[in-house]
Symmetry: C2
Subunit: 143 residues, 2 copies
DNA sequence: AGATTAAAAGACCTTTTTATCCTTTTTATA
DNA sequence: TATAAAAAGGATAAAAAGGTCTTTTAATCT
């Protein structure tokens, strides 16, 4: 479904969001331990999210990653879009160069339902809401 | 969503199914032209589908690929499963080693809905039904 | 100022996926 | 039986994804 970059990125940003609700700045090494991801590779992913202004990075002692207040309502769809592009929201399920309801592939109408379901789910899920859920439910970010 | 192998495989098998309803045996070169896919690569994919007994291949002059009557009710889910495995039906959206409702990731319950929607759609769509649809609707397999 | 801490950036390596080429095997039919 | 058609199979190559390592930049604390 998602690339490894995107999986790590989502787990990382969710972890950072959750820690942000507790006012904790978290370092790369903490993140990669807590989400069980390769550290150097995760660094690359976080750089992309930093450049996209989804997370904020702070260098030096006591530095790390955090999410600014007004970014806590970032939707998961934006994170996916930054890391995997938006082919997943617009692409043809059978790989035609573009998806077009006016000359659809045989799977188009069934596929678009699923694709839109995914997009709506991601567009309606903010980092803040996930972080709040995590503080009440028992959910995990590593296994 | 799907790998290139799977996209080509789905398009190929759908094309073969449609031609099968007209009693046409189709050659690799015809298939790769009609679905606009790299011929040699498509050959590899069709070999997998042949070994999985989803399509039948016939060597020699007037040979090619066809689908036997009792295989026309093969579901798209089986084709996807052969070519991409079933991680797409069972895997965690955030990439945890396994998806488990008893210790779910923060996206689990929202993700499972989408994932099951996709699986149900593919499990309920047979080659025959797609082929029949194509004979009434205008749909395409190349662009 | 100098030492230390931590992220950013870029070069590099490895594995997997995608794709091509060429030879071999099978088979229909002239 | 020779020939041509067509799939099968193997070797290889190119591209993309996944991952590591080293150097640079920035912040903090003596
Ligand atoms: S054209 Fe294939 S999904 Fe829309
Ligand atoms: S545990 Fe992540 S989707 Fe089920």
């Amino acid at each position: 479904m998602f690339s490894k970059s995107c999986e790590y990125g989502l787990r990382a940003v969710i972890f950072i969001a959750q820690q942000t609700t507790k006012n904790n700045m978290v370092s790369l090494s903490t993140i990669s331990e807590e989400i069980n991801s390769p550290q150097a590779f995760t660094a690359k992913v976080l750089q992309q999210l930093t450049r996209s202004n989804i997370v904020k990075s702070v260098k030096g002692p006591y530095g790390g990653f955090t999410i600014e207040d007004n970014k806590m309502n970032t939707k998961l769809s934006e994170v996916v879009s930054v890391l995997d592009g938006d082919a997943i929201y617009t692409g043809c399920g059978l790989g035609l160069k573009q998806c077009d309801a006016n000359s659809p592939c045989p799977l188009h109408f069934k596929f678009v339902e699923i694709r839109d379901g995914l997009r709506n789910m991601l567009e309606n899920t903010s980092l803040l809401s996930i972080a709040e859920d995590m503080n009440t439910d028992f959910t995990i970010l590593k296994r």
